[in-house]
Amino acid sequence: MTELAGSPTAASNPWHHLGAINRNKMLVQILLIGNTVLMLYPILIMFFSAFKTTSDIFTSPFALPNFTNLANFARIIRETNFITYFTNSILVTTGALACILIFGSMAAYAIARYKFRGSTFLFLFFLSGLMVPLKLAIIPLFIQFRELGILDTRLSLILLYTAMGLPSTVFILTGFLRTLPGELEDAARIDGASEPKIMLLIMMPLTKPALVIAGIHNAVPIWNDFFFPLVFIHTDANKTLPQGLTAFMGEFSTDWGALFAGLSLSALPIIFVYIVLSRHFIAGMTYGSVK
């Protein structure tokens, strides 16, 4: 194929065109495979190294490990607070997500389905929250949490993440709820259904796709966040996974096997969920950037 395209008679050869197309296709494949290797190989090396002893990592970093050697994982589970950090991350993420989705749905429903004075202003108020990097209000937040007596608690993180997640959630859900036809609502109203019933039993079940988008859009940054726990949480028992990771990365700094095991264990849950739900992940995380 390459021979044909490169040969001097190629111009007169009827297959020349096909050859060029195939060569292009091959170039595309080579570039994309190269990039995929660059993206996945480091992650693969991380998992492989987690099964190796430190000296094996140093002497043969690219070799396949003995997958039955789970000593590094056992060390991480036994000698660190990994389980505590993991539980805290689950607790904080689900707690914040529940608040975001419940409060967000309520506000979005009011803005999208009812006419009342100030509803446009309210929508703009939430929208402006999208532009504010809350990181820069960290000093007042620190003082405020201290005065409320919730500094160094998981509750402080849940409240903060709720505030961070509401603007995008109200934005996503309002846009979706506005597209739902009013006939459903009117029919139920004529039948004598109360407003809360209409919302909970008729309208909200229809917003499930938007709830999934909003949920992922917020869950991933919350699960991965490091900055706010760094400032607010000091007690080891209250630390989340990314923050806890820095603690035992310092502790095991010379035991590379344990370090890679710690990184692998931290990355595994979200990678697993991503592989199962990749389409939703991509839609959720790029929402707002894609029209």
Binding site: L32, F116, K135, L136, Q144, L160, V231, P242
Partner: protein, 306 residues
């Protein structure tokens, strides 16, 4: 009767909006307003002192050595931004174009390029810190293995290469984001438009430049502005990989690290200054807001022109 109904209807609406509004006012509106106010006060640790107008701003921007530190950090943010525009966004555009051709296995390539994006910066930072270790990291082991010993540098330990190594790790982490936004932008272009252009010219480069590039302008706007905001908010990656002091020798110091050090002190020297920290926060925030808004307006105009 109707007024009672109206009243209960209003109570229902109030019930719906109250929780979200209370949270937003308490943890966004008040803190942001306070940040502005705090920057105008003198602070002794956690205690607020006198009202000193713009003295904190004056210190941060014009007084030695703070002005030098601010400028040093700001310069690095500018470098990071420019480098990411090239390394991350150009690569993202090209990858998107390749995937857009829908070659065999393109769904897998799409999923793979986005995988690092979902990982925590803490994981990515530590991973590359280990990989870039001068002796035992896989980067230098690989370079030694293929005979490029001269290139096996102490990447994070040398002030000439440290920032570049950080930029590389960041690009590896996030290149999937511009890729997928560009891809979505390309997929929105009507197919027949591209087909027609291909009939007009045999040069695929011309199709790319004259048809695809102008038509993904909205994606470009979003990506450029997000890159800008990201580059000037840079904190986690340098914190993990280079430490709070932007080592070695402040060569990786950025505004985010400098702000954190000023506000909360570093572990060795426990000095913290909420006044100067707030002033820095206000400066960074205003700069990002004004620059991003101006640039968005410019890029939006460009979308129409192209």
């Amino acid at each position: 009767m109707p007024s009672r109904h109206r009243l209960s209807h209003m109570a229902w609406i109030l019930f719906l909006i109250a929780p979200a509004v209370v949270v937003m006012v308490s943890f966004v509106l008040i803190p942001i307003a306070s940040a502005l106010a705090y920057s105008l006060y003198d602070w002794n640790g956690l205690a607020r002192g006198e009202f000193i107008w713009f003295a904190n701003f004056q210190k941060v921007l014009f007084q030695e050595p703070f002005n030098r530190w601010t400028l040093n950090a700001f310069t690095h943010n500018v470098i990071v931004f420019c480098a990411l525009m090239v390394v991350q966004n150009v690569t993202g555009f090209l990858l998107a174009y390749l995937i857009f051709k829908e070659p065999f296995g393109y769904r897998f390539y799409r999923t793979a390029v986005f995988l690092p994006v979902i990982l925590s910066t803490v994981i990515v930072g530590f991973l590359w810190k280990l990989f870039l270790h001068p002796l035992f990291g896989i980067v230098n082991q690989f370079l030694n293995g293929v005979g490029l010993d001269a290139l096996a540098l102490p990447w994070l330990g040398d002030s000439r290469t440290a920032l570049g190594a950080l930029i590389f790790a960041n690009a590896w982490h996030f290149v999937g984001f511009p890729t997928l936004i560009y891809l979505a932008g390309m997929q929105r272009i009507p197919r027949d438009l591209i087909e027609a252009a291909r009939l007009d010219t045999s040069s695929e480069l011309k199709v790319l430049r004259n048809v695809i590039w102008p038509l993904v302008a909205p994606a470009t706007t979003i990506i450029f502005v997000l890159t800008f905001i990201g580059a000037f908010n840079w904190f986690e990656l340098p914190f993990i990989m280079a430490g709070l002091d932007g080592s070695p020798f402040g060569s990786t110091d950025v505004l985010g690290l400098y702000f954190y050090r000023t506000a909360f002190g570093n572990q060795s020297a426990g000095v913290q200054d909420f006044g100067m920290g707030s002033a820095l926060a206000v400066i960074i925030f205003s700069f990002i807001l004004v620059a991003a808004a101006t640039w968005t307006i410019y890029l939006r105009r460009r979308e129409i022109e192209l």
